[in-house]
Symmetry: C2
Subunit: 100 residues, 2 copies
């Protein structure tokens, strides 16, 4: 993602990018290697750097974290009662607070 598309396009090395982002070289490397998550602070830095929306980077991380959480809590989730919420209320809340 970042390494294969953005950095080559900007003609930036990992070391240079880390300097411009004002973070440690290893910190950026951990993100690139998937060893660390994309934090909101990191997303804000990346958004500033290349113009991609911050929530884009965060949504990628979010989907990843959610996937892990659902699998780690699979057996626990099965024990949680499922309550019916009226669709009218559901759609009402989603339209009120949903992303455009």
């Amino acid at each position: 993602m970042l390494r294969n598309w953005v950095l080559p396009e900007l003609r930036l090395t990992v070391t240079q990018t880390a300097q411009e982002l004002e973070i440690a070289r290893q910190t950026l490397h951990r993100v690139l290697a998937g060893k660390a998550a994309v934090t909101p602070e990191m997303a804000a830095r990346l958004a500033r750097l290349c113009g991609m929306p911050a929530h884009f980077w965060l949504d990628l991380q979010l989907a990843h974290d959610l996937w892990h959480a659902q699998h780690a809590l699979a057996d626990t989730l099965e024990r949680i009662p499922v309550h019916a919420l009226p669709d009218t209320l559901k759609t009402d809340i989603l339209t009120r607070h949903g992303r455009t």
Copy 2:
């Protein structure tokens, strides 16, 4: 949000909800009071409980965290160089990995 719409509709108290989610009562309270963030694990539990999508709860938290990050790093972000990324590449990446 949770307290004002979902819980009254389900006729659930905070204590009961915490028991059904298999978490400590104080943990749920911290989330309701905004003292703690909605983690992916918590979002998965809430999604199971009331049927609202997990990414909905996480998007709420995400927007909040991002807002804080951008303000906390305001002066730092100003020092990060802005690089122009071709719109063709931008939209290409967004369509590839963007949420529907």
